[in-house]
Symmetry: D2
Subunit: 407 residues, 4 copies
Amino acid sequence: MSSAVKKTGVKKVVLAYSGGLDTSAIIPWLKETYDDCEIVAFCADVGQGEEELIGLHEKAIASGASECHIVDLKEEFVADYIYPTIATGAIYEGTYLLGTSMARPIIAKAQVEVARKVGADAVCHGCTGKGNDQVRFEGCFAALAPDLKVIAPWREWEMRSREDLLAYLAARDIKTSASATKIYSRDANAWHISHEGGELEDPWNEPSKGVWTLTVAPEDAPNEPEYVSLAIKNGRVTHVNDEALSPYAALMKLNDIAGKHGVGRIDITENRLVGMKSRGCYETPGGTVMFAGLRAIEELVLDKTSRTWREQIAGQMSHLVYDGRWFTPLCKSLIAASESLAESVNGDVVIKLYKGQATPVKKRSPNSLYSESFATFGEDDVYDQKHAEGFIRLYSLASRIRALNSK
Amino acid sequence: MSSAVKKTGVKKVVLAYSGGLDTSAIIPWLKETYDDCEIVAFCADVGQGEEELIGLHEKAIASGASECHIVDLKEEFVADYIYPTIATGAIYEGTYLLGTSMARPIIAKAQVEVARKVGADAVCHGCTGKGNDQVRFEGCFAALAPDLKVIAPWREWEMRSREDLLAYLAARDIKTSASATKIYSRDANAWHISHEGGELEDPWNEPSKGVWTLTVAPEDAPNEPEYVSLAIKNGRVTHVNDEALSPYAALMKLNDIAGKHGVGRIDITENRLVGMKSRGCYETPGGTVMFAGLRAIEELVLDKTSRTWREQIAGQMSHLVYDGRWFTPLCKSLIAASESLAESVNGDVVIKLYKGQATPVKKRSPNSLYSESFATFGEDDVYDQKHAEGFIRLYSLASRIRALNSK
Amino acid sequence: MSSAVKKTGVKKVVLAYSGGLDTSAIIPWLKETYDDCEIVAFCADVGQGEEELIGLHEKAIASGASECHIVDLKEEFVADYIYPTIATGAIYEGTYLLGTSMARPIIAKAQVEVARKVGADAVCHGCTGKGNDQVRFEGCFAALAPDLKVIAPWREWEMRSREDLLAYLAARDIKTSASATKIYSRDANAWHISHEGGELEDPWNEPSKGVWTLTVAPEDAPNEPEYVSLAIKNGRVTHVNDEALSPYAALMKLNDIAGKHGVGRIDITENRLVGMKSRGCYETPGGTVMFAGLRAIEELVLDKTSRTWREQIAGQMSHLVYDGRWFTPLCKSLIAASESLAESVNGDVVIKLYKGQATPVKKRSPNSLYSESFATFGEDDVYDQKHAEGFIRLYSLASRIRALNSK
Amino acid sequence: MSSAVKKTGVKKVVLAYSGGLDTSAIIPWLKETYDDCEIVAFCADVGQGEEELIGLHEKAIASGASECHIVDLKEEFVADYIYPTIATGAIYEGTYLLGTSMARPIIAKAQVEVARKVGADAVCHGCTGKGNDQVRFEGCFAALAPDLKVIAPWREWEMRSREDLLAYLAARDIKTSASATKIYSRDANAWHISHEGGELEDPWNEPSKGVWTLTVAPEDAPNEPEYVSLAIKNGRVTHVNDEALSPYAALMKLNDIAGKHGVGRIDITENRLVGMKSRGCYETPGGTVMFAGLRAIEELVLDKTSRTWREQIAGQMSHLVYDGRWFTPLCKSLIAASESLAESVNGDVVIKLYKGQATPVKKRSPNSLYSESFATFGEDDVYDQKHAEGFIRLYSLASRIRALNSK
């Protein structure tokens, strides 16, 4: 492949670089394929873990990059991507908490910003051609920088396996710590980690213990439940166990507590955007607790029609985020609708963690429509049981007329 | 009150009778209030438990009823009310599995049938004036028998407490086993039991152990998980652990197994149809397992757009069932839509029960769109990674044009 | 009735007063019924026409009111109630442009403000007990002033007909210009006029010519079409035929132009909120043109998913406004979602008016996703026909897999 | 291009053939490109007009086809594709009555049937690479015959214009009646005709008179209105002006009547499935009348919640049909839901046609919830105005509680 005629028209490309096997191979491949273009490595720190970032700069340069930009997006990720999403209640296909999906737009945006700063004319990602992430990245690029050329090596080169990549790097004398076998494909950030591959490829297989990394097995969790309290303001967690924390810090603390209790494991066979099904396991320990906390306060403050509407926003948002349509007018509209409702999502909730479960057991809110003083409103002021008859008569009037007509 | 002028125009009334304190008092009250009308007691057996039915006939006659009809609706309840509802995926406000709601229409229908058989001109129920059930019963009566007068004593008489009722019965020398104090108000059937009142009236109280009756506490559940397998055909469970069972028998077996593992506890502050919020705890052990099983098979067989549509049906159905609109054209339409989708909901699922959780861990289906043989379709036949580029370009075209225009 | 024991507890009541027969009778009735309470007449000027306001103050005093407040709400009505509603695209049951519905919340709000100013302890309206408007008024009162008592004479007194009202006034020597017979019941404001009653009560009758008051019959409209141009900014009409106009002035001008061409007649049998159907005819000449103009610009600027979402907002908003739920968190959320989308609803549209039709024939927008320069983007930059194959393959992948599996 | 190496692997291909310039060129191109494969011409008669079919067989053979199959689908098209669609109320983006979209699945199905009969291994269509129809055809092929190869010449060859095609045919001595210039691109069937191109490419241009072919201009329509009556049974027109007619015959008759009055013109800038906007003009004279008739009966028979649900079905169906997803489980489910509701869509409607407008002016139904005898039900039986108070109190209870709480 590298012996072919070199492609032209790309002078400088910003690569979404993780230091893993794929993106390590992409650097030399880009240079060989695109006529010695300059490669700027870019890595978004969205909370995937410090061990992923150590030595990354050196590795990128050693692989042939001219620069390496590591951008800390941790707080912005939680504040501006995660919270607006979970405020809507979005869960993809009833189960998936959108961990990878929410990270893609912020990474793409930061990558474009680096491209602008260094004057690049192309961006490149290491996503495969069968997955969702290629669509998410390129959808964001289209919205933010339609002038930048997009390079997707997995759709272009002919390598198909880890062995191919290892051989490619070996031939170029580029060192890698990657092993020839890797059972699971994983993606991590502050919110979650995903696992695919291995025995998971058959939905008739129960995930083995080796799949999970962030949470203990419920069987191995403490035999005593633990209670964690959240203070919530405008749909955002401000305090954990009475400690004021930044969005990212609150999530980290909850990840720690919930992971110890085996909370947040998900196992789903989902519809990918590209039309096929895939099976994934996800761990979202802190997020599961946050999510449950928000919903618990909503139980107190949203009336029946508002809650129904919130579910419609959730359904739309779950597809929008999964499908990579973050930078669209639709997304702005959904968030505007959701944030309006979240103005009354204020209060405290206590969540019990035990053997894999996160159960809200205590809830209160200054905006509660259920109020301890309710009974003392007095019947005349708020509710007279005799009103119910009239309500029922009118509520069922169409049924009555239909029945009378059909006689 | 009984000294007032007697009401006329009701000769024979069929009362939804449970043998509890309320309906025991209603019998003499009806006779005294409605000029010695004849009272026919009616009790629907929807699986609330045999202990509730023992001696019921005698008790009704002793309280003053002329007849007592106990109708076995257990299989019909599961087959024709529960399954059509859970096939849609309906969950009220994200949490409540609609146990009481689903039972009301079948009870109302059977009550009307008894009324027709005995030539009654009125029906009566013991629901209070602040709850949903009055609306559900009377909505069904309006649809099925708009000519029958409906009597709702709690909205008519002046008694307000258990003490009032006990005194009322004592004054008439009618014996009752009811005690003066009762902490929780409960409603049971094959699918679930509900609990309200007591300390639950404050959502800031965690439910105490005494609330729950069908399930053990997760802390008291076995330390070893148990696996249960379901065979599912057209969205209905046909076998449990390879044993062919009727709909009702399958539910009973699952109630037994799941209850032992503390599965199916729900604690919700919900929006009542009559405009106020209430807090209830529900236990739905077998139903939780059934529900999880159906959703697990759907993961394999529903494509992205079909699944999204199924969620819309679920949302509609959850309100329709909760709101007592069963006997409406809308309900027929929702069920028609759902049953069409359920034609492919076939397969097997293995569910792990452990300390309060029911987790599908193995799934397979002859209609699966995720197939073990998928990878062997060959790239040319089904999916060429190069197709992805075209997909992405068109999929993000509007974003690209918008971005280009805004330059 | 007036001879009965007088009710107490109401000292001063603000009456929504029109000067018509009903509210003229309500003034003496209130004084006689509520123990000589003071009556403050209130009339909202929402553009119902100056002839309705002339002499109103004197008439109110002559009927027994102590004060009469006439409040000009015309600009606020168009700017803050009509525009937010039509931006969503809300049309009730596919036909009704919500003219009466949109006016109720602003009237109720102003009535409450007068009540606060004069220190009243009650509000009163003249709506009948079978219609929607009682629900709308009282729903708004509940949200804005739950402490104020609401008096609804039509649900309280025993008068049932115009004859009863005329006799009641005659007995009290109160003069009225109302005639004994009135075929149609009408409600007018800047946006529309509604007509009910008379031959319209049978949907098998075509509305007679005498029904309509704001528009000429299409048969009587000019034989030459007229073109009117609208400039639209953020979903609001700023110019009509290049003349900058206030929201109310723009509507008035369009009413005038469109009415001459017979535009804006509606004939619908609709579901009332109170459960029964009614048949109404409506005239919304200028509104029909405004509405068509907004939709025409949206054709250019909303992408497929955004437009679908806008329709969902429209459906929700149509019920919310019809059902009188304006002062709710749901309404705020819907408007937030809609205004976000409307940021790109900018441009010009030319509408042809001819014999009852308003047809947008020319449209342009700076935010258009359809652009004259589109073709010159060049195939490489935006769209390569060869991309379509990949799109189609992935777009239909689930169908392909399903078909292959079912072999 | 024809001098290149010939492709192999296709022995016999069924071409969707119209006799127009494009498909006339496709026949020789297929033979030259695919190594002398055999070409079977196929033409679906979906009511596009007899003049399109005269001489078609001869022309196909003369162009090089071995056989020509013309299949009469007219009644099936109306009965099994149009009626199920319009029963849902589907209108794409609020305006387009889906004429071309509905025809694609029935044509694709018949084409596959011919392919099976003649033992073909490929199918071919003449759709361009920028339009919707390629997606619709190929989506249906994927669902019905995933094993057949699909050939889309416009995405494969290098010809780009009418001139190219004429030169191509001239070089092969194949005669064509096609002229070098053709302003508009059109597609016709029993339901409608579409027009694109020419001055329509600028939405700021009003369509010129020459665009329209099925309808007269409203200005040229009769000065007297005409009334047409429809009898409707289960959502389908059975009689026009009291004459029992087959589905296709009824549509033809209505096309004739409505076209004379200028009814059914549509001008829309729409979002194509492939991500770009296009501007089209459509004429659907008879369909517009049918559609209005169905909706008119629905006004009488659907209650508020049923109608809201019907609108949701409509929204889904409009995208499904437009997007070519006919042969999917989702489509079956939508139709099942819609047909259930249509069981009560029975009655008569009289529609006034005048100068471009079709206005239902008289409606009646045996299933009407609005009934002439309604008033005579008596207040006690159906509606007591005093019931309204209770209804309103409960209906607005959440607002009241919220307002009381916020004090």
